[in-house]
């Protein structure tokens, strides 16, 4: 029996890994986007440089900003850090795992989103206001789809705990689950929508009237902006980790031995190294949707998730 302290340290290490690797993953995606757009890439470490630069700058507060505005970046980053610790990325042996299951995780994301939107509305500029409203619209359409995907995975493994899901799907003998095929597709659409990626929002611009995520960050500066940006990067990686632990969980280890952890670590690295370019290719191929077409996009995600849910009952029992 491994002492609880050691296992807790394992979970802490895992959370820190996700938090500190998140800008690297973002840099990797941006590099690929630059290459595909026939541009010279700024390097995979560019997000770290940006964060360091922002951390050293003075944080300016708008006139009339309430404490909520100052609190929001910390809440956002804190919830993302918490989420990073709850998702099994390297090991499913998470001593704090039972405290929050998949549904609570969705709640944590919702908390961060609400604070981000309130912070954006706090100053009273029209841009922040519009961004916050749009973000909430996307979120309320994406959330049911997320829940259905989580329920589908829970139905197969008979548990809503993320560790149990990853363990069940990763260790049993290989079966083709039609429901998981649908759930994967749906979840990919959700990743795009929730992380302000291209068919819904363009992460590379501050200059469009159609921006969603960036509009909410316009009033932030210095360390506050750094935390917000870093939080978004962590969120992207956490979503990808959830996807990996549900749909391609092979390699995530239930035991904390040296070789197993090393193997899991290498496999995780490989999976992310492949998924990053996939996202970049998709983003380069697609055009941004009109905002009023976004509900259609998310209705498709919800539909796929519901079909996944139903096909579990009809095809797999």
């Amino acid at each position: 029996m491994i002492p609880i302290l050691f296992r807790s340290l394992g979970e802490l290490f895992q959370a820190l890994l996700v938090i500190f690797a998140a800008p690297l993953f973002l840099g990797w995606i941006n590099t690929w986007r630059a290459w595909l757009g026939n541009r010279k890439a700024a390097g995979v470490l560019q997000p770290y440089r940006d964060l360091v630069k922002l951390m050293n700058k003075e944080a300016v507060l708008a006139y009339g900003a309430s404490p909520l505005f100052r609190l929001a970046p910390y809440v956002v980053f804190g919830s993302m850090g918490l989420a990073a610790g709850l998702v099994p990325t390297v090991s499913t042996d998470l001593p704090f795992g039972p405290a929050a299951d998949a549904i609570a995780l969705v709640g944590i994301f919702a908390l961060a989103r609400v604070f981000m939107a309130l912070g954006a509305m706090d100053i009273g500029t029209p841009f922040g206001d519009i961004g916050a409203r749009r973000e909430m619209m996307i979120a309320f359409l994406a959330e049911p789809a997320t829940m259905m995907v989580l329920f589908t995975a829970s139905l197969i493994s008979h548990s809503t705990s993320l560790s149990t899901i990853a363990e069940t799907l990763g260790t049993h003998h290989f079966t083709l689950y039609p429901s998981l095929v649908f759930a994967t597709t749906s979840f990919f659409l959700i990743i795009l929508a929730e992380n302000a990626r291209i068919p819904i929002d363009n992460p590379g611009t501050h200059l469009e009237l159609t921006m969603i995520h960036e509009a909410m960050l316009l009033e932030y500066s210095g360390r506050h902006l750094a935390l917000m940006e870093w939080g978004s990067a962590v969120k992207l990686l956490v979503y990808f980790s959830i996807g990996i632990s549900f749909f391609i969980p092979w390699g995530i280890t239930p035991v904390l031995s040296k070789e197993e952890v090393l193997k899991a670590f290498v496999l995780l690295f490989l999976k992310l190294a492949l998924l990053g370019p996939l996202l970049a290719v998709l983003e380069s191929l697609l055009a941004k949707l009109r905002l009023f077409r976004a509900p259609e996009f998310l209705a498709a995600a919800y539909l796929l998730a519901v079909i996944a849910f139903l096909s579990h009952f009809i095809l797999e029992v």
């Binding site: 083709l176 095929v181 539909l303 096909s311 009809i314």
Partner: protein
Amino acid sequence: MSPHASNLGIEMVNLLGAFLLLLAFAMLAARRTLSLIRFFAMQGFFLSASIFIVAFLSGETNLYYSALFTFALKVILLPYILKELTLRLDIQRDIETLVNVPVTMILGIGIVVFSFSLAAPISEAASTVTRSLIGVGLACVLLSFLAMITRKKAMTQIIGFLAMENGLLFSATNATYGMPMVVELGIALDVLIGSIIFGIFFFQIRETFESLDLKFFEKLKEE
């Protein structure tokens, strides 16, 4: 055949059935005639693949012919005819729908639930290896029906009609290992001749009304 291989076969058929259902939804959401035809061809492909696997699992030689026939007709011939028609009639623009797409999708989910629950007792009675797929076939039929009634133009309605036949064939294969060969050939020929006649009809309709919109049919009566 080893039980493991047959298990994998059944899983494959299930997966193909799921794709068939997905494509039925894609057809509901499609906005352009040419992409609608492409979805139809893909559906035909998955259908023939699933018939082929069922033939392999059950050992019915008839079904191999059926799979081959479906492939030739639904993946190559009909999509070709439809594409030619679309290009010649110059109707590849956006399809007009009567109900907007998200609402149609939600209706579609309702239809899937309905047909799954309707098919559950029928599946109990069937004795084939892939009986759980009867519900999927039924859902495909009803979804194609929905695609037919929510579209205005004659072209999209005929594609909906053809897709309905896909769902029918899929249900038949999975419920009773296919209809008798004579019946199947008869239906296939009907569909082929039907689509040719419709092709001629389209030109006539357009010449008379200068549009393929079926609402003009209502004004046919003399007043």
